[in-house]
């Protein structure tokens, strides 16, 4: 076959409506749509503050065709725990509860609640759609912002100092039954992971890289291409971690130079060639670590 006909693997019904307020080319609604397709209508969504608070539509609108609860920035995991407990107390053990948070709500302000819920192995799926900064407030750095990136709080004269926080290692350390990374550029992989997660009980964590045209300073139509490149070049490898110890890559990662990925994003345009090489080295070092996790487990 010339092409995997992926439509056969993607449920047809949309649970996300048009007219939502995402910027053109935003990956976040693509991710949400795929996730909801995989989960189906028996799903409830908890939405802490993030871009999606806007994308979902202002009152009296909702872009979702499933119940949605908007909540405070740091409470995604806790509110999801409560909703699940409420459902279970009334005998509903089947409805899937998900928290849908950005990188800020996950890596930063929501990490405590997430850690608490994960440690308790609360029965919900936590999704982090990661656009690598506080985009909704106008592109401020988060602990998911990659090294060297410009944001409005890491100006080009003093760009981001720290590499991206290793959230997967953190989640794996909680020994939750299932954690995975996913990409909008790999819809089948994403949908399969969500479907798999749905069948598992306990805390499940899925981290989705979500390129952001205004925040990354890229063209609107590059979103998928960049997401794909991030996977191929090992910047954002696609993997699964079961029970915190069994790591597995789920697609091929041919690797290669990350230069094009970096150079196509104007948030990195101030970087010198030497600095791009530093990023290349970081990616390779991290790949080595991940490969060892896959090989030996954690």
């Amino acid at each position: 076959m010339s092409q995997t006909i992926i439509k056969q693997h993607i449920p047809r019904d949309d649970l996300l409506a048009s007219g939502h307020l995402a910027c053109p080319g935003c990956a976040a609604p693509i991710a949400m749509n795929l996730v909801l397709k995989a989960l189906g209508p028996e799903t409830m969504v908890v939405l802490p503050a993030c871009c999606w608070s806007i994308i979902a539509g202002p009152w009296p609108q909702s872009s979702l065709r499933v119940p949605l609860f908007h909540t405070a920035f740091e409470t995604g995991a806790a509110v999801a725990s409560g909703i699940k407990a409420g459902l279970v107390s009334r005998g509903d053990t089947e409805t899937t509860v998900i928290a849908w948070a950005g990188d800020g709500g996950t890596f930063d302000i929501g990490l405590q609640a997430l850690s608490g819920a994960a440690e308790r192995n609360e029965d919900f799926i936590y999704f982090c759609y990661d656009n690598e900064a506080y985009m909704n407030t106008g592109v401020q750095r988060s602990s998911a912002t990659p090294w060297g990136a410009w944001t409005t709080t890491t100006p080009t004269s003093d760009p981001e100092h720290q590499p991206k926080k290793d959230i997967m290692a953190i989640m794996a350390a909680h020994r939750i039954p299932y954690a995975a990374t996913a990409s909008v550029a790999y819809p089948v992989d994403l949908v399969e992971k969500v479907k798999k997660a749905r069948t598992i009980r306990g805390t499940r964590f899925i981290h989705i890289l979500a390129p952001c045209p205004p925040g990354w300073k890229t063209q609107n139509d590059e979103t998928i291409d960049l997401a794909r490149m991030a996977v191929e070049r090992r910047i954002f490898p696609l993997l699964e971690v079961e029970n915190g110890g069994d790591w597995r890559f789920t697609v091929d990662h041919p690797g290669g130079s990350i230069e094009e990925y970096i150079r196509r994003q104007a948030r990195f345009k101030h970087l010198t060639d030497q600095q791009v090489e530093i990023i290349q080295a970081q990616v390779e070092a991290r790949w080595e670590i991940l490969s060892n996790r896959v090989k030996y487990g954690t």
Binding site: S2, S18, C26, W59, R65, H70, V184
Partner: protein, 564 residues
Amino acid sequence: MSDRDLTRPNDSGRNIPPVAISETSTLVNPTGSWKYIMPRYEDRVAPCNAGCPVGIDIEGYMYLIGQGRLQEAADLLVRENPMPAITGRVCHHPCEDSCNRASLDEAVAIHAVERRLGDMILAAPPPPAPERTRTETVAVIGSGPAGLSCACFLTRMGYGVTVFEAAAEAGGIDLRTSTRVGTDVPWTELDEFDAVFVAPGAHVGKDSRIEGADGLAAIRPGLEFLKEVNAGGRPDLGERVIVVGGGNTAMDCARSALRLDADVTVLYRRTPREMPAIPQEVREAKQEGVEFEFLAAPIGVELEDGEFTGITCQRMELGEPDESGRRRPVPIEGDVFTVNADTVLTAIGEDCDLSFLPDEVHTTWGLVEVDALGESTSAPVFAGGDVVDMPRSVADALGGGKRAAIGIDHFLREKAGEDVTEVPLDALRFGGGNVSALRYTNDEDPIPREAPVNETVTWEQMNPNHFHTAPRHEDHFHDAIDLRSAFGETNFGLSQKEAIEEAERCLNCGVCNRCELCLIFCPDMAISRRDDGGFEIDMRYCKGCGLCAAECPRGAVTMTREGI
């Protein structure tokens, strides 16, 4: 203000609830108004179609095979090419040279798929002859690919067609064999026809210019030899055979001679790079054991006791390029050698015998002058195939025949007083390639093309990320040892299963195959499926991000500012 009761709200009918609970979807937001550029489904022409001299909708039949619609695929193929079983075997398949898939891994083995479909058609009962709907009749001179193609298309258009063939055998239609126009039938007798299509081919072997060759039985025109073999003759050529020439006729001679148990050497005055023969033919000839002597030209004969023993050859080198762009062979002074041989077959090109044509039909350099639709300087005389100025290939001949059929139809309709406009030649062509008969007759296109633009899609316009590599199925060949004894087919093509797999390697360049990636990647859910299988973009919600166009694997979505 002073009159208002501020202890209670006005009853405005807004019914604001106590909490922010949604009551409607975001469909109320016309977010499509944000866009400054918008997508449009526009199918384009696959490069194979544009590269096919016959004008076959290759992409189209590949699409149908991909859908499991084999019979429809065969119907579409034969709609544009009356003899796919033949072209599947002998065509030099320029379609594969232009196949975009070569940029991914290897070109699709189009010829093999065509051959399979062609064989499928041959195996099925022949379809009923087309109904005669026109009163006019057309004479076709020559039953080669150009003549038969023209005759076939004219017949389908409802004309009465008579084919005149000088040789004793040919295939198809209302045929008068052993009837050479100008000899057996005077040209003037063709006046009873409303039009004439001249396609007798090139059958006069060029003079080999070997000194002393005249009258020697050991030196034969290759074409004549091939005709003899084709007619069942098995002449004794002796042990050593020299074939002079580097074209397809030379290869045919060499491989036929091999099968008559001779050791064969091909003598060619340039290098392998300049050989006009189809590379595959050369490759197969080598595999079968044909020797090659390059940069050598025969100049004289070697006689021993009046008996022919071989030829004298001049060693050549390549000089400046000639008008064909190939480097001209130049003799190396004093470098002469001899080659022993029992027979020499000359195959250095063929000329046309146009002596039967009246003067009004102008010729230049031994070729009939025609326009794009085959019309000569003296309507109703049309011409095609080897007698006009175009590449001498089966495919070009078939394509020329098709164009001439269109030209003749148009001419006759105009003559009959029908309200006909100029033939929209550009629109009939696949991209810049040959014309489509289906388009000319306005038949329904079995491929659901969306707003097709007659422009060939380039590899750069496509998105290769969604394709994965898959090795090309190569034709199955007979073992080389057996070849020398067999005049049958040496290439067995692909199995049905392989051919279908090969068709599935087709990328459907430029043509939406409903893969639905646009739908999956649209962040705005603005794309929906239409009942007819196509897609619809709801411009109320499309924000113009361009992801559908960027991610379309086959370049079938275009971004445009038109209509914003």
